[in-house]
């Protein structure tokens, strides 16, 4: 059976990977019959309505899914296709309550036009009552116009509504209403998308090594996962003014799904080695303001323990551990190595990193022989962009030996500025904005 997915026309590169991840989670087979980044409409083949509902239920990148009753580039074509494609269905809906809706993309129709188009479907023979609210069936006429060209739609579809997406929770999870946030809190819509891409779900254990105010664990727990977070910045984990990550989990009724927050550093992780994590999600700090820091001393040497008033300094409450500069690339390599050691087979790592939008400083996509790159999603801002990379832990038996492990850069005694090319470019200003790069619209500007 063919179905129409109504995507949101924003963050296009996230959409197909999200649906593919959801198909895996719902254990449904999906074939994309048509999909392009510049259209909100995609036709897919699925087994039945049950599969379609299960597929779309968790989706953030789409609004809903419809049984495809017909398509065409003109109304004549559409009607012919409806007669051909869905004739056998008509009698099923003869007596139920129903309504028709319009979904015009990059165009518009007056109410009078809408009414006359709806009337042109009279031949479907629906005799049930028309209900504008809570009808048993909803039929939607989708019109897609060429941007800036109002002279008739390029493509038209007729669909029967089958299932809605998860977008109804966005208003509840918005950072505007969240109790504990800071300037680096990940946007809730992106966090939920990330949770879908990493296959967060019931019964699973997820970990965020850069937990901050808990955006990713909250999103993963919304979908049923139990979550663990850590941060090198103890203030994040402990919270402030009586508010912390748990406050957020409590706000959403998810407290039972939050295991713990730890104060720790990825390069000296206290997590026991072993394949016990179902997923790892992270937005590693780029160190734009302060330079990246990890535990360590600048020259790499070990220092003797310091004693103050007879007590070891490091055991005193006000002790601040030494931190050394650390390149972003080195951190990514460490993160991939960590993920390879910790993820179960099929477990996913989803990580955010800047692209830096400039050929001089384009950061390579990190690779690891045990991690298969599943998807690369790009979010574009005015002067830079960032990527969401998603990897799958492959079984050891399937690791190809000949893949090179990237060499780690051992850098000692350097400044953060030398180490971190992104940070360097940030302060120099990205000199040449790239032509043809679309700019992220504000979240409210969705169509």
């Amino acid at each position: 059976m063919d179905y129409l997915i109504r995507f949101v026309q924003i963050r296009e590169t996230f959409r197909r990977p999200e649906i593919e991840a959801l198909a895996l989670l719902a254990n449904v087979n999906i074939d994309f019959l048509s999909y392009t980044e510049n259209s909100p409409y995609s036709v897919v083949r699925l087994k039945d309505d049950v599969a379609a509902k299960m597929l779309i239920d968790r989706s953030i990148s789409s609004k809903g899914i419809y049984e495809l009753w017909g398509e065409g580039t003109t109304y004549d074509e559409l009607h012919a296709n409806v007669r051909h494609r869905s004739f056998s269905q008509w009698t099923l809906y003869q007596s139920c309550s129903f309504r028709f809706e319009f979904d015009t993309f990059s165009g518009s129709r007056t109410l009078a036009e809408q009414r006359s188009i709806i009337e042109s479907f009279k031949y479907l023979g629906f005799n049930g009552p028309i209900k504008m609210k809570n009808s048993e069936q909803t039929f939607t006429i989708f019109e897609e116009y060429e941007y800036g060209n109002p002279n008739g739609p390029l493509r038209i579809f007729l669909g029967r509504f089958v299932g809605g997406s998860q977008r109804h929770v966005l208003n509840e999870y918005t950072l505007k209403k969240r109790e504990y946030i800071n300037t680096t809190s990940m946007d809730s819509e992106l966090a939920l998308l990330t949770a879908n891409l990493s296959l967060a779900g019931e019964g699973k254990l997820f970990y965020d090594p850069f937990v901050g105010t808990g955006s990713f664990p909250i999103a993963c727990s919304h979908f049923g996962a139990r979550t663990l977070g850590s941060d090198i910045d103890g203030r994040m984990v402990r919270g402030r003014d009586g508010k912390d990550i748990k406050t957020n989990f409590r706000q959403y009724g998810l407290l039972s799904r939050y295991l713990d927050g730890l104060i720790s550093d990825l390069t000296h992780s206290p997590l026991r080695k072993g394949r016990w994590l179902d997923g790892i999600i992270g937005d590693p700090p780029y160190g734009v303001r302060e330079g990246l820091k990890v535990l360590g001393t600048k020259d790499g040497s070990r220092k003797e323990a310091v004693y103050i008033d007879g007590e070891a300094a490091h055991l005193q409450d006000k002790y601040i551990p030494p931190k050394k500069a650390y390149s972003f690339e080195a951190m990514l390599d460490d993160l991939l190595e960590f993920a390879a050691e910790m993820l179960v087979d099929g477990g996913r790592l989803s990580l955010w990193m800047p692209t830096a939008n400039d050929e001089d400083v384009e950061l390579g996509i990190p690779a690891h022989p045990c991690l298969e790159l599943i998807s690369v999603c790009v979010q574009t801002f005015n002067k830079w962009s960032r990527r969401l990379l998603t990897y799958r832990r492959v079984a050891d038996s399937q690791v190809e030996d000949d893949l090179p492990v990237r060499q780690k850069m051992e850098m000692k005694g350097s400044t953060a500025n030398d180490l971190n090319s992104f940070r360097k470019r940030y302060f120099e200003g990205f000199k040449t904005p790239l032509a043809g790069v679309s700019i992220e619209k504000p979240a409210t500007g969705e169509s």
């Binding site: 699973k204 139990r226 984990v237 026991r272 016990w276 551990p321 099929g346």
Partner: protein, 146 residues
């Protein structure tokens, strides 16, 4: 900090990772607290195979719990992850016979509802102490240990 989390923690010092003495960490002056956590059988079934049972027994004993079964409950999953469908969790229509409901509930209480609010965890290899305050453990190391 939940007892389940403790089972996944070891000393943060790199040189300790290879020593069996660094796991589990040992409690000192632990203050416990019980909380109500929604019971979730799917999570327990998924996570129990990953729990180090010997370490859990040591931890439970140090904290004064005597309810941990000597052997890890047999959860024999009916299906394991395959490469074709790597995310499929074991789906059991009925609770495995070897594990009764009460055992699972008791484990839920110990692993997820019991928290260490204050205290220290000590590495049996290097002796480093990790403090727990208001349920949050600090694993940042001093300079002579990194």
């Amino acid at each position: 900090m939940k007892i389940l989390t403790v089972n996944f923690l070891t000393c943060a010092v790199k040189a300790c990772k290879s020593s069996p003495l660094s796991f589990p960490l040992h409690f000192q002056d632990a203050e416990l607290e019980q909380s109500d956590i929604e019971y979730n059988a799917a999570f327990l079934r998924n996570i129990l195979p990953r729990v180090d049972w010997e370490a859990l027994k040591i931890t439970a004993n140090e904290l004064g719990f005597t309810t941990v079964p000597i052997e890890k409950p047999d959860l024999t999953p009916t299906s394991t992850a395959t490469d074709k469908n790597p995310v499929r969790l074991p789906i059991n229509t009925s609770e495995p016979q070897a594990t009764d409901e009460k055992t699972m509930r008791d484990l839920h209480t110990l692993l997820l509802e019991t928290e260490v609010r204050e205290g220290k965890m000590v590495c049996g290899n290097c002796g480093h102490e990790y403090k727990i305050k208001e349920g949050i453990a600090n694993f940042l190391l001093p300079s002579h240990l990194v």
